[in-house]
Amino acid sequence: MSEGTIRTLIMVDKQADRVVPPSGFTAQLTLFVSGAMAFLAVFALALSLASGRLADRWASELARAATLRINAPGDQVAAQTKTALTILRQTPGVAEVRALSREEQAALLAPWFGADLPLDALPVPQLIEIRGAEPGYDAQGLRLRLAAEVPGAVLDDHTRWREPLVDAANSLRRLALVSILLIGGATAAMITLAANAALAANAQVVEVLRLVGARDRYIAGAFVRRFTLRALIGAAVGVVLGMAGVMLLPEATDEGGFLTGLGFQGLGWLLPLVIPVLGAGVAFAATWAAARRTLKELS
């Protein structure tokens, strides 16, 4: 495709667009298909973004790996915490340990008991955050050693149940991306069919245009512009409807977990706006290929 060809294809030429008669069903087919596909693409995109976010969040929680709780009578807590920290620091595979401060613990409890909780008056266990290294530490061995030296210690290891969730979120994201590719492919196929039908229905028009000296790129351009514009309009409508649908989904909340986090967030709302542009691009390429092939056959 030379630069001149592309210019002929893109340049808005009202007169050139009139030489192809407006054709009912291929126009409606293109509008409908690109609209429906864009609508689906919005949801696939939302799903892929949400599962991506989820995978990231779970994975980072995984990296945090574990918490150690020290349940001990008030006067022993400090001593046991100190021993536990020493043991943890000596354990191979533990990258970082940190005892949570009083304020941090209060913040964790605030959602349940309110902000003005008198933490000092309650037998609240001390929490120690453990971040594992690569490869991780031997949780079983650590448990045994803690049981011997820090009687009040309970190791709470998230890995076992988080890992499959991260895997699931990642496969969900992959599925969503594959769906977007399939939606693109199906759109290309349908628009190719519609363009072929339009070209075949207008074989007479093509012949007359050739008799008066029209070049292939001129004839193709008239079809390509028309289909590209229709795909753009159809996809824009589909995206607007799709985004409205996503907006109507419930707000993301922690309690709802995955299902309520399905929307777009922040700048993510701009991402679906790329869909009509991509749809138009797909229509452009599909119609151009179809026109070039058909015009060769019609000669």
Binding site: Q15, P22, V208, L211, V212, G213, R215, L295
Partner: protein, 225 residues
């Protein structure tokens, strides 16, 4: 301009034209006549590349038409104006746009050509029909429009297939005058027609050669016309 050398054309039904040699030299005026079905339209199609000769070769502006690719063929057709026997319009476009079609597709557009178009439409008496769609026109109106479209690019060669087949005598004289005028401007003209009175009328005004197809061969018709 257009030159046929030992051209033959055969299709499934056998040979239609054979051993045809003719040179449409610049500024020449030719008539092509012959019985219905003798191959006049076919010969014109060979001249503008709508059909490929099955023998011999057709040269247009010095190029072998067989060797032109589709883009080159398009450029070749912009230099010749053709009045097709069946007119060939785009039925969804108003007449004025159909007549301007060669300008549109060649990228010239109508800018600066509107006067030219109006004048031409007046010449063929179609000013009032400018907005009509081709299917709404009478046979004669279609033929006049076809002639207008053929000459709007001011081509070097005009090939006209029965341009006066459906019009009355007066209009046929006007169309002939238009073609004679173009010839005086140096254009090469070839008219296929049954109408001997048209040929006679032309011969009194221009030097025209009359070619006749008979028995698949092309002959120069004598003074019997």
């Amino acid at each position: 301009m257009i030159e046929l050398e030992n051209v033959g054309y055969s299709y499934g039904g056998g040979e239609l034209l054979g051993d045809i040699s003719v040179d449409l030299s610049p500024g020449s005026f030719h008539f092509l006549t012959g019985p219905s079905g003798s191959g006049k339209t076919t010969l014109l199609k060979l001249c503008y590349g709508a059909l490929q000769a099955t023998a011999g070769q057709v040269m247009g502006f010095g190029q072998d038409l067989r060797k032109l690719d589709r883009d080159q063929m398009a450029l070749f057709r912009r230099r010749i104006g053709v009045v097709h026997q069946d007119c060939r319009f785009l039925d969804h476009l108003p007449l004025a746009e159909n007549i301007a079609l060669p300008l549109t597709v060649s990228g010239h557009g109508l800018a600066g050509q509107q006067d030219n178009l109006n004048e031409l439409m007046a010449w063929v008496g179609l000013t009032k029909r400018a907005g009509a769609l081709p299917p709404e026109l009478s046979g004669g109106e279609r033929q006049r429009a076809a002639l207008a479209r053929a000459v709007i690019m001011s081509p070097d060669v005009v090939l006209a297939d029965e341009p006066t087949g459906n019009v009355d005598w007066e209009m046929s004289q006007r169309l002939l005058q238009l073609l004679i005028e173009l010839n005086r401007m140096g254009k090469t003209i070839l008219i296929a027609t049954h109408d001997l009175s048209l040929i006679r009328a032309a011969k009194s005004q221009v030097q025209a050669r009359v070619l006749r197809i008979s028995n698949r061969r092309l002959q120069l018709a004598g003074a019997d016309l």
